[in-house]
Symmetry: C2
Subunit: 265 residues, 2 copies
DNA sequence: GTTGTTTATATGGTAAGACCATTTGCTGAT
DNA sequence: ATCAGCAAATGGTCTTACCATATAAACAAC
């Protein structure tokens, strides 16, 4: 038999029907042909169009749903609706990484300060007047809440979220969201448990002043002050809290951090 | 009929069988009861254990697979294998956000510099001798490649990846991965197209010197120099490239960035 | 014995059809 | 006008069967 040495073949991997279906629908969403709010045909209709069985269609829909791209309801007028990709839904996969131990609390605490600085710098560039108004409103409530630690912890999160939004950078917003929701209560909760009320109020007062300075720096677009204040604010968390109570230890390089349970995990 | 006013009910939402199955398996993976490399029972066996039909089992497996938690093969000794959660697979969801336009190239370029700084600072704290050796090996090749732009662009990526790894922070590594793979070729490719070869070599030489300084700062654990050099390196990208060729424009705050096609998108 | 081939078997992949559950809207009786 | 009830559309589920593939064991040829 003659052999054509020039021909070459690619691996003959076969794809599941569900994957092919998934990719087609995914592409239509990415390309914009399917927009948020659009409704996909019924499963039986899709099965006919793709010339595939309903189970295959359903497997593809589960995959798309897992991506947060579809919302599925039953009943007449029900079906698969294309969902707008919100950052909130995008945070879900990252949270799973925390679940799975691929990202530890220590990693988050470490990155927290850096992301805050990034937020601050980008916010100075991209902030709008509306962002400022939102932050001013939050600071009003911050000032009013210094005697109420529970409220302070909530307002504190609001402030940092608003600051992240002012950066108008989805990565800042995303990471801030993950970090604050997973770390925030940690600090304030444990801090409150281990300090006298006078001390708590003192911490609140300082934190409040600190945040006010951050806002002022943002308004003035003063990068240097912003960075300085952010550093001061981070130090606050640790200076006023006994590390031993927080299960936090100082590491060799001079930064405080949670004890890593085991590096092998 | 007497009515107990104190009882209250929660919404009677029913869950799909596939979701219940998904959650059970997911939990076993998160809790560590199922470890990477472990093999799940066969679909028919699972169907029996869960008392559900095979299609329901399969939908759940598709969901877990979409999370990157399972690897499924056919044949004897085939089946669903629990996958170790690598950061590479974790980057996938973030890439999809870029696909979908939730994160734009502009956002990535903006965040790039900040993440680099975060990497640098954390690397100064957590670097190991092995990290240094890896970076030194890369720099050797960097020096040797200043006349070969194509190699430089590859080595450049290697350097920044190694630097991110030296931070030993998965968030740094993750974001560096996304940013470099999506942005890197952009700069070097376009830069090479629009510059004379002497100019290109000059850029390469400066970039190389810059990276050497970064490595030196890392070895010396010199935070101040590190930050300064990172800033210089970022400026390099823009100073030597005609913004008009890059479709980059200077924004009011003095930073260069890509033109946003439309804010409404 | 070694090698290559066949066969058995366990596994995922797919299909078809039926039925159930839920939601919506229409329709008709009051 | 209101409301009960029916009809239709849709997702949710199960059953059963068969196909495709990959491994391993049995077997045959050398």
């Amino acid at each position: 038999m003659s052999e054509n040495r020039s021909v070459s073949f690619t691996p003959a991997q076969t794809k599941r029907a569900s994957e092919v279906i998934y990719e087609q629908i995914y592409q239509k969403i990415v390309s914009g042909e399917l927009k948020p709010g659009d409704r996909l045909p019924a499963e039986r209709e899709l099965a006919e169009q793709f010339r595939r069985s309903r189970p295959s269609i359903r497997e593809a829909l589960r995959m798309l749903q897992q991506d947060g791209l579809l919302e599925i309801t039953v009943g007449t007028n029900g079906g698969a609706i294309v969902r707008g990709v919100s950052l909130a839904s995008a945070a879900q996969p990252l949270r799973k990484l925390v679940d799975l131990g691929a990202i530890t609390i220590n990693d988050l605490v470490d990155y927290r300060a850096y992301n805050e600085r990034s937020c601050g710098e980008l916010a100075i560039r991209y902030r709008t007047d509306q962002d400022i108004r939102t932050l001013e409103e939050i600071m009003e409530r911050y000032h009013a809440a210094v005697y109420d630690s529970e409220t302070v912890s909530k307002v504190d999160i609001e402030f940092h979220t608003a600051m992240a939004n002012a950066s108008h950078n989805p990565l800042c917003i995303l990471i801030n969201d993950i970090v604050t929701t997973l770390c925030a209560n940690l600090f304030w909760g444990i801090a409150a448990d281990n300090m006298t009320s006078e001390k708590v109020i003192e911490v609140n007062r300082r934190a409040c002043a600190c945040h006010q300075q951050m806002l002022d720096a943002l308004i003035a677009r003063d990068l240097e002050t912003m960075n300085k204040v952010i550093q001061v604010n981070m130090d606050l968390y640790f200076d006023f809290v006994d590390p031993s109570h927080l299960k936090v230890s100082a590491d060799p390089a001079g930064m405080h951090r949670f004890d890593r349970p085991s590096d092998g995990l």
